[in-house]
């Protein structure tokens, strides 16, 4: 039983308790059912063998919200303007930093938040991205996002490009 193991358990129980508190509306009587449910969920939950950096996660959340806001604004504008002239492309985003596995999957779902991009297919060496309206800086912003995800998963970044 390492410290890390106990830490993971503490996190799990804390997050599940907050969830129960929110779902039950903070009713004190509900904890009679809540505590067994929380413990059962914590035991049955699949274990993850990867760890997120808490600081990087805190930094990523406002950035992801900002991206969601810009993405929504851009699509809303494109849908509402009179001329439907889209510069739609499919681009290949080669993986610079992330290894195969959960980090790539996380990035692929996050890409759907970046203004105007949609993850099409996860290939071994690259990610196919559907771009609604291609700008000059779209590929660069994908690389920037990948760097952030690498920081989140604690992956070392070589300094090339």
């Amino acid at each position: 039983m390492s410290i890390r193991h106990w830490q993971a358990w503490a996190w799990r129980l804390a997050i599940l308790s907050v969830l129960w508190w929110a779902i039950s509306g903070g009713d004190p009587a509900s904890w009679a059912w809540g505590v067994p449910a929380i413990v059962a969920a914590a035991v049955l939950m699949p274990t993850f063998n990867w760890h997120l950096r808490p600081m990087a996660l805190l930094l990523l959340i406002p950035h992801a919200l900002w991206l969601a806001l810009r993405g929504g604004l851009e699509v809303a504008w494109l849908a509402c303007r009179p001329s439907l002239n889209l510069n739609t492309r499919v681009v290949e985003h080669p993986w610079h930093y992330l290894p195969e596995g959960p980090a790539q999957l996380f990035m692929a779902s996050l890409i759907n938040l970046v203004p105007g991009t949609l993850a099409l297919r996860l290939a071994s060496g690259s990610l196919q991205v559907h771009v609604l309206n291609l700008h000059d800086d779209t590929p660069a912003s994908l690389v920037r996002l990948e760097r952030r995800v690498a920081a989140l998963f604690g992956i070392a970044i070589d300094k090339e490009t």
């Binding site: 504008w77 001329s83 203004p115």
Partner: protein, 115 residues
């Protein structure tokens, strides 16, 4: 104070409804399944986020507010993964994304004019 929060909540909900309208317009106007997914994942997620935020501001207690935000978070995860699954399935079924390789006949330049 509570009064002000209530009105701020209404403003957020109204803004969210506008994004839902824009997303639905995109769903109708965009040319193929991939571009339509953009409309659904981006505009509607933002619209739902604003509505949930507006309702959270009007909530009777912190637990209820957290519940609204939780709804949005689960929606974000579900629609992000769902959009990619639909897109890759469409691709595997042989639907090719429509691309702007040559400019459409109505336009004179390929570059988007606004930045």
């Amino acid at each position: 104070m509570t009064e002000a929060l209530h009105w701020l909540g209404y403003a957020f909900v109204a803004a969210g409804i506008l994004f839902f309208l824009a997303g639905s317009l995109g769903l109708l106007r965009f040319p193929d399944v991939f571009t339509r997914l953009h409309a659904l994942t981006k505009a509607d997620n933002l619209g739902l986020g604003l509505i949930c935020l507006g309702l959270a501001l009007q909530a009777s207690g912190p637990a209820e507010a957290v519940k609204y935000l939780l709804i949005w978070l689960l929606m974000l995860v579900a629609s992000g993964i769902g959009a990619t699954l639909i897109a890759s399935t469409a691709l595997a079924c042989g639907l090719a994304p429509r691309q702007a390789d040559r400019p459409p006949s109505t336009s004179t330049s390929q570059r988007p004019t606004e930045q």
